[in-house]
């Protein structure tokens, strides 16, 4: 079988965000593979290590720099990578059109993708891709096993979790808790340099975004920042309760 892991390159969560001219400016910021997608790469590798015969292909869409994230995936153990190069920002619905076509072209039967994008905060890519392929979908997966063509596992829902079973092909969205992604080792980094990283042009996917991004701003809610010293616990407690009752008026 063939597994696709969709990966994105995003701002490191520890970095602060900068906005210039109505858009987020990523120049000079540390960019990493989206951790949500890293769980997908790791899970694909673990499925193979559990005895599933699979070729694992990492896919990314974006400017030239996203190759760094693909290289990381290759160094983790992915077999080859496809980079659809574009400087145009695509919303999840548009992006799913690219991913679905690649899945068909590669005859993949399992797609792994992060549950939420750390940059655009979107949840939609996995579901949109499943819909385009007319495949079933599991979101927020926290455990996964594959025997033959049957997937079993556990995923989070509104209030709690569910165990499930499902026949391939399928789209699975991944999240923290599914596994602990490995660090690429030096020998694997060396080996990855010889692996195939194929470039494709966005043109042939016939994508027309239906959303325009018109502005971005950082709205910082001004906070009172009244921080008390708690060495004298009863005094600090009394002061805090008084502030909440009489200044903020949020408790009775």
């Amino acid at each position: 079988m063939r597994i696709l892991t969709y990966i994105r390159q995003v701002l490191d969560a520890e970095e602060s965000v900068h906005v210039a001219n109505g858009a987020v400016a990523l120049e000079n910021s540390k960019l990493v593979m989206d951790t949500m997608d890293e769980y997908g790469v790791e899970e694909a590798l673990r499925l193979r290590e559990s005895g599933v015969e699979a070729e694992i292909v990492a896919v990314a869409v974006g400017p030239a720099r996203v190759q760094d994230a693909l290289r990381t995936a290759l160094a983790m153990g992915v077999d080859r990578a496809i980079h659809v190069e574009t400087d145009t920002r695509l919303d999840a619905i548009a992006l799913s059109k690219v991913l679905a076509q690649i899945a068909q072209q590669e005859q993949a039967t399992l797609i792994l993708s992060g549950g939420q994008q750390a940059d655009w905060d979107s949840h939609a890519l996995g579901a949109a891709t499943a819909e385009r392929l007319n495949w079933p979908l599991v979101t927020w997966t926290s455990a996964l096993e594959l025997k033959g063509a049957t997937l079993t596992g556990k995923h989070d829902v509104e209030e709690g979790s569910e165990t499930f079973t499902l026949e391939l092909p399928a789209v699975i969205t991944t999240q923290q808790g599914l596994n602990e992604p490995r660090y690429p080792t030096l020998p694997n980094i060396m080996k990855s340099k010889k692996k195939e990283l194929r470039k494709e042009s966005l043109d042939r996917f016939n994508v027309t975004p239906k959303i325009k991004f018109t502005n971005a701003e950082i709205q910082v809610k001004s906070r009172l920042n009244k921080i008390l010293d708690g060495k004298d616990a009863p005094a600090a407690a009394s002061q805090l309760v008084d502030l909440l009752r009489n200044e903020a008026k949020v408790i009775a």
Binding site: A13, V19, V24, D91, A92, I93, Q116, A118, D119, W120, D121, S122, H123, A124, A127, A128, A130, E131, P136, V138, W140, T152, V157, E158, E159, G160, S161, T163, F164, T165, Q175, G177, T208, K210, I211, K212, F213, T214, N215, A216, E217, I218, Q219, R223, L224, N225, I227, L228, D229, G230, K231, A233, P234, A236, A237, V241, L243, L244, A248, V250
Partner: protein, 324 residues
């Protein structure tokens, strides 16, 4: 028409539905007064829900079917897309709950419509919809608009819970119609469920949330400090990813990127340092209070009030003070 997919739980219309009604009424006004607002209710044994929502909208469509007893993204998206097509809906509003955000992309693709996700504001001008939503783990507010040129609906929109004011019910009830649906057979088989319902107020709807992190020390510490304070204030309890992973608390209480987003009137963070993933789930709360021994903890930067000190001394002192 503007179509709302009603969210409900435990036999009641959810607060998020009343909030969507407000968003829909505002849109209807902008689009012209003859634009009706229709609610679609999906489920099994949902007559009381249909009756309740009838007092908020112009028309209620009810699909009360045993096949809809359990949510499934393929069933829900097929139902909503069919009704949107038959009713020629111009805008489809879906709650930005976990399930809403899961099936809405399928609806958008079935209808070949743009998807506006998790919006906090919505405005119609002509055939264009403009919305705002948060990006970069809720640190940036972005404005987006539909690019137009579509022949079908203007957009499928998921509405972030807790942002729009819940609409007040009207005296008169709108007419209800049963609808026929062509539903696919669900392919995802659910083999077991772990419900993690707490006896307290639900996190998403609570006015006050008390959350705990590693700084509470242990699962027992969480009960002793966080739950005790929540009981005293009639609040919901929340937890950080770290202590959910440690098994101290159930996942359903998790606040943050991979858990729930809350924006209560008052959020009290106890022993929480404030990782950006946690902050993204609570940084829109009206008043934030932080209690932590580490003066450098990032949570203090977004706090309105805070105490730097030891949780085991401070929380009992606060409880004593509250009981006075």
């Amino acid at each position: 028409m503007i179509l709302i997919v009603a969210e409900h739980a435990n036999g009641k219309v959810s607060k998020s539905t009343w909030e969507m009604v407000t968003a829909a009424r505002e849109l209807a006004q902008q689009k012209g007064s003859d634009t009706p607002v229709t609610a679609l209710v999906l489920g099994s044994n949902i007559a009381p829900i249909a009756a309740e929502i009838a007092r908020a909208v112009d028309q209620v469509l009810v699909a009360d079917l045993p096949a809809l007893a359990q949510y499934d993204s393929e069933l829900w998206s097929a139902a909503v897309a069919q009704i949107a097509r038959e009713g020629e809906a111009s805008v489809i509003l879906i709650g930005a709950s976990r399930s809403g955000r899961e099936y809405s992309p399928r609806v958008a693709i079935k209808l070949d419509a743009p998807l506006l996700e998790d919006v906090i504001s919505l405005k119609a001008s002509g055939e264009t919809l403009t919305a705002q939503h948060y990006t970069f783990l809720a640190r940036v507010t972005e404005t987006i608009e539909t690019a137009g040129g579509a022949t079908g609906p203007i957009a499928v929109v998921t509405i972030k819970p807790g942002v729009f004011n819940p609409a007040a019910p009207r005296a008169e009830a709108a007419e209800q119609f049963d609808v026929d649906l062509n539903l696919p057979a669900p392919r995802l088989k659910v083999t077991g469920k772990t419900a993690e319902r707490s006896s307290r107020v639900s996190l998403a709807e609570a006015e006050i949330v008390i959350s705990g992190g590693r700084g509470v020390g242990s699962a027992e510490g969480f009960t002793q400090y966080v739950e005790a304070l929540a009981d005293q204030l009639g609040a919901a309890v929340g937890a950080t990813r770290a202590i959910v992973d440690a098994g101290w608390r159930p996942y359903s209480e998790q606040v943050g990127q991979t858990g729930k987003t809350v924006q209560p009137r008052l959020y009290i963070a106890i022993g929480i340092s404030g990782a950006v993933q946690h902050l993204s789930g609570m940084n829109k709360s009206k008043i934030i209070v932080a209690i932590n021994r580490d003066a450098e903890a990032p949570i203090f930067k977004i706090a309105d009030y805070g105490i730097i000190g030891d949780v085991p001394q401070l929380i009992p002192a606060i409880l004593t003070e509250l009981k006075k």
